[in-house]
């Protein structure tokens, strides 16, 4: 579904992605872990071209997307993204946040989008918040709305960029529950996170990244139970005390 070949990215003189080669298959829940500054978020943001790769290829559904002439907007419509800081639109109600893109892009009528919006709000457990503004919500609620907003576009794949890192600890569970539900329903997901419990429980594959490279990749059992790479071992020993 997604193919990444020799992906490289630097900011000024700082090399963030050294050489990434990965394939993400349909139905996989790929959890990307690693120390901060290892390039996890940049890797994720290169997948929907929020960052432009310096070198290498990004292929989605058999089409290379980081070349001139590709309609990036069309590609992004099938790749939902959830951000660390939610990025809800503060001037719109929850329902308007959800319906904006599908209606603006002619995917649905306003009525269809609202119908879908109500279903999605039910899925994330926030039906009563349809008419609220983002400022009236807690962090955990905001993030669940942000997930619903992405899902409104019927994406084929969901990208999560540290979705729980900005949340109070007691809110993390609610968001992870929604993500688990998604995974269970077969959504293809790439999740950058520090939640090792989630990685272990929900991930079908773990990528350990460090210094702009995927150092090790494998099932949760392999990575958490029997890591091979010294860096992985060191990292896990620090986070799994």
């Amino acid at each position: 579904m997604i193919d990444v070949k020799h992906l490289k990215k630097s900011f000024d003189n700082l090399e963030v992605l050294a050489d990434i080669n990965e394939t993400i298959e349909e139905g996989e829940v790929v959890v990307v872990i690693g120390p901060s500054g290892s390039g996890k978020s940049t890797f994720l943001r290169c997948l929907n071209l929020l960052e432009t790769p310096d070198e290498g290829e990004v292929w989605v559904d058999g089409e290379q997307i980081n070349v001139d002439g590709v309609d990036v907007n069309r590609v992004r419509q099938k790749m939902g993204m959830v951000f660390q800081h939610f990025n809800l639109f503060p001037h719109l109600t929850v329902m308007e946040n959800i319906t904006l893109a599908p209606v603006k892009l002619g995917k649905m009528t306003k009525e269809e989008a609202e119908e879908k919006g109500r279903k999605l709000l039910e899925t994330v457990g926030l039906s009563e918040k349809a008419d609220a503004y983002p400022i009236q919500l807690s962090g955990g609620q905001k993030q669940r709305i942000a997930i619903a907003r992405s899902l409104a576009m019927d994406p084929e794949i969901m990208l999560f960029d540290e979705p729980t890192s900005a949340l109070d600890p007691e809110m993390v569970g609610d968001v992870l529950d929604v993500m688990k539900k998604l995974a269970k329903n077969g959504m293809t997901m790439v999740v950058v996170t520090h939640e090792m419990g989630f990685a272990r429980e929900v991930g079908t594959r773990i990528l350990f990244m460090d210094e702009g490279l995927v150092m090790e990749s494998g099932t949760p059992d392999q990575i958490f139970g029997n890591p091979q790479n010294e860096r992985t071992k060191l990292f896990l020993s620090k986070v799994l005390k």
């Binding site: 929907n48 904006l100 992405s150």
Partner: protein, 228 residues
């Protein structure tokens, strides 16, 4: 004659006698029309120039910069006279419309800076969220960034509008009779200085006070989504 009777007498001479108040009323009409049209066109120009300045295209940056530089570097009276006597010399348009265009060109330069700052004040994550949903740059700008920027822009834009109303007091230079010029005419006709000039000041003041109140109302409406 006591002070109050004298005041009444001068007031009568300046504003009632020979229907002089109609001159002033017409003047108020001119000021309002010029300022309103100039404000609307000024916002349009300002928005375009702001987009030029924010664009990634070098040539647009240069256009925006040169425009702002020229306008800020020359007096508005000079600009008004150039627009009126040079640019529109052979064009048949109502005087007040030409004046409004001149003021909008001037105001646009200041408005562009206000809008630019307002757009930059919107968190980058908002644009990223919009783009990640598949909206294109223009859709993201118009339905996500600009509405939020409006809240930050509005107070400064209101200030600019108030400045604009007062700036129009120079339209007498191109033969329009606005509030200022009407006061001036009354001054010449009556040989009174105090009453017509203070009257002019009071009319401007009331006009701007009303404007300020109106702007505050609209601003409160814009802040609706900030209420918890």
């Amino acid at each position: 004659m006591n002070g109050f009777a004298q005041f009444q007498d001068t007031f009568y001479k300046c504003f009632i006698k020979d229907d002089r108040y109609t001159l002033m009323l017409d003047g108020i009409g001119v000021t309002i029309r010029v300022a309103l049209l100039a404000a609307v066109l000024g916002i349009l120009i300002g928005f375009l120039i702001a987009l030029c300045n924010l664009s990634k295209k070098k040539i647009l940056n240069i256009i925006g910069k040169v425009y702002t530089d020229i306008i800020r570097g020359t007096p508005s009276v000079t600009q008004l006279m150039i627009v009126y006597f040079v640019v529109f010399a052979s064009v048949h348009l109502d005087k007040w419309i030409i004046a409004a265009i001149a003021f909008s060109i001037n105001s646009g330069a200041y408005v562009s800076e206000i809008i630019r700052a307002g757009i930059l004040s919107v968190d980058k994550g908002q644009t990223e969220a919009g783009r990640s949903l598949g909206l294109n740059a223009k859709q993201t700008m118009m339905s996500i960034v600009v509405p939020q920027a409006m809240k930050n822009i509005f107070p400064a834009l209101g200030n600019e509008f108030i400045t604009l109303v007062k700036e129009t007091a120079i339209v007498g230079y191109v033969g329009l009779v606005d509030i200022q010029k009407a006061g001036d005419f009354i001054k010449s006709a009556t040989y009174e200085a105090f009453m017509p000039l203070i009257g002019t000041a009071v009319i401007y003041f009331v006009l701007i006070k009303l404007l300020t109140l109106g702007l505050a109302k609209i601003e409160a409406g814009l802040r609706k989504s900030d209420v918890r």
